[in-house]
Symmetry: C2
Subunit: 410 residues, 2 copies
């Protein structure tokens, strides 16, 4: 494929118009939307409106007049449309790790007598940490078992309360078969809790069709919700009345403004909310979602995979460095929207790319990771990025001391 | 005191200049800064800079270049100066209820063998809910005991792991003697956990002088940090190495970007952080703090109490309604910066005030609550507000059907 071919794909791209809706600096090819999505222009405007008009003019009255109090459910309802859930099954609250703690504990409450939380080794660390923290707190009432992915289905047993998996792996982009794994968990009477951090806004999923029980995800990757955007949680309607959250707070109370001494959880998704909603973060996230919802999810996924495939093909065709390896599945159907290459000099390679205006990221110990957000990237940009990576490898352009200086965030 | 006297106090007020630093609508007397502080003008500017420049131009690189990754500790260090803590003892993270859960569980980890969490009946509900949720999760390893405030000191015993109190009561504004209660807890070997939601930015406290162990608080009241601003937590340095948080996440890991499978908590205040920092919320909160830190905390408290005293005196002098009662202490030294009156028609009275541009709030079942934020209120405004309340009571101006329509948030 020539660069002209890539430009031809851009001309025919039904999602091309979305690029103009984002605020992206010139001279940058942004292959890190899977770490932090860029701002929709509407997010700037939305934040200004919330700050100046709703907060400044409306003051505390905006909890009612600007519908702040409903924001966790309203914004959650928009995420629901992207993940195959009902509007009343998703709320936005807290951070992903906190929500994972809530739903893993909630899963134990739904499966009394079972003690095992099952996950995979090498899952995104914060997911494992949240689960480790929960079992450390619960003592002998719960245990965390982690097994290699290929051993996972066989490890589900009669003691398994919940299986916790990240749908798309943060390093390899390997995609679990969501319906199949959910069915495998159910076959043993276990619940299924999905982490959709690299899924929502990227890859089409249908939680209800798969009869998934629980899910969490973040707002700042493909949903373009802003740095540290609040996270979301999904609880299937059939579980909402019975699930017990471990984190009780006034926003989860059946009547928050009755100010009762005793907690009575709301019997709907609100029961999983804890503290006061983070309105500024919710506002930016809602702007990202409103934009995302204008795009056909099937087209989003197809373009993202096409971009990723183009990148892999061009890098492998041009790069003569035998130290470079594709970290994830070659089969696009088994992959999410990012591509990871292993290389002993992965960190320096990412810095050398950055010096050319191409932003990817590094994941220890040796992974150079590039994300292909379909709403703002063009085929020509990806062609150029692949060419740059091949050039850097061929010329060993990464081999400079300044590219080895580690930053706090890698 | 005449209105001219009040204007005279404004002319001599060393904090008067701060009013111009806030974005407040004309025609409003805002007596609800204790529920949601108004925006500093600098918060609008800060949010625009973070959104357009740091997020838009810097993209993911801003985690390093704009120092986002350090924000929880940097902003926490600014709060520390307002509450008598060291910079390394405070972090900003999550919601108050979540932080209370973390620190109450952490207190149990610091007092093995003790099982009682002691608090007062009528404490702010979300505090009780967070504690109820924790003990429900822990089963027989912990119990929550609540007693009337006058019985609290006597109830501290050898099984008490931690005493959890709100320094200034959300309804009555009653102020606990923070050093005395902390000493009483220590005398029985218990830890002291303070909720400083109505304290920080309002009333001068010195946690280190009192040898307080733990504290939490919110950012959206007197700190003017924005709707649903992230909360803070304080852990005395002497406890940081030993305390075990129940909410483990990558931001609390000793090396977050090592991406290890096993959790190793940071041994400093970072060990109490869980998920990715909410950068937009942190930015607005930091603007509020930077403004607050320009003011002398002793002057802030003195003016707030003087405003509250003026309000009480003027209302009581003018109001002939025997159904009106002062809910909190008459002695200013035993009070925070808000004033609550009980009245069977409290809700309608607050609405009638609102119709005249005077914003207070209602707390069930019968409390009309008015907050006296010292940085943006004038004595003349408070004089006018008291006059309006007296007029409304005298004329029974609250007795209209539209003032009885309950909003979602009261």
């Amino acid at each position: 494929m020539t660069r002209e071919d890539a430009q031809g794909l851009d001309l025919a791209d039904p999602l091309a118009r979305f690029r103009d809706a984002f605020d992206l600096p010139s001279g940058v090819i942004y292959l890190d939307g899977n770490s932090l999505g860029p701002p929709p222009l509407s997010a700037h405007e939305r934040l200004e409106r919330v700050s100046r008009r709703e907060w400044g003019e409306g003051l505390v009255r905006s909890w009612n007049s600007a519908h702040w109090i409903e924001a966790p459910q309203r914004v959650g309802g928009k995420i629901a449309r992207l993940i195959g859930a009902q509007a009343n099954e998703v709320a936005v609250a807290d951070a992903t790790s906190v929500n994972l703690f809530k739903l893993a504990a909630g899963a134990l409450s739904l499966r009394p007598g079972r003690t095992t939380i099952l996950s995979e080794t090498g899952n995104f660390p914060t997911d494992l940490y949240a689960l480790q923290g929960l079992v450390a707190l619960l003592g002998d009432r719960a245990r965390l078992k982690t097994v290699a992915p290929e051993d996972l289905v066989a490890a589900i047993d009669a003691d398994t309360a919940v299986v916790v998996l990240t749908h798309i792996h943060y390093k390899s982009a390997r995609r679990w078969d969501l319906p199949a794994l959910t069915a495998a968990a159910h076959a043993k009477g276990a619940l299924m809790l999905w982490d959709l951090c690299h899924t929502a806004g990227a890859v089409a999923v249908d939680l209800n069709a798969a009869q998934a029980d629980l899910a969490v995800g973040c707002g700042y990757k493909y949903l373009n919700g802003g740095p540290g955007a609040p996270a979301f949680l999904f609880v299937a309607e059939c579980h909402q009345a019975a699930i017990v959250s471990p984190l009780w707070g006034w926003m989860g109370h059946a009547e928050p403004f009755a100010f009762e001494d005793g907690y009575r959880p709301a019997s709907d998704i609100r029961g999983l909310i804890t503290g006061t909603p983070p309105i500024l973060g919710l506002a930016a996230l809602e702007a990202g979602l409103d934009l995302q919802l204008e795009a056909d999810p099937a087209l989003v996924e197809a373009k993202g995979l096409a971009l990723a495939n183009l990148f892999i093909a061009r890098v492998e065709a041009a790069a003569a460095d035998p130290a470079l390896g594709l970290a994830g599945p070659r089969d696009a159907a088994a992959r999410g929207l990012h591509v990871s290459f292993t290389h002993p000099e992965g960190y320096a390679i990412v810095q050398a790319m950055m010096a050319r205006g191409i932003v990817g990221d590094f994941r220890a110990p040796d992974i150079a990771r590039f994300g292909f957000s379909p709403l703002f990237l063009s085929y020509a940009e990806v062609w150029d990025a692949a060419r740059a990576l091949a050039d850097i490898l061929a010329a060993r352009a990464w081999d400079r001391p300044e590219f080895r200086v580690r930053a706090a965030v890698t």
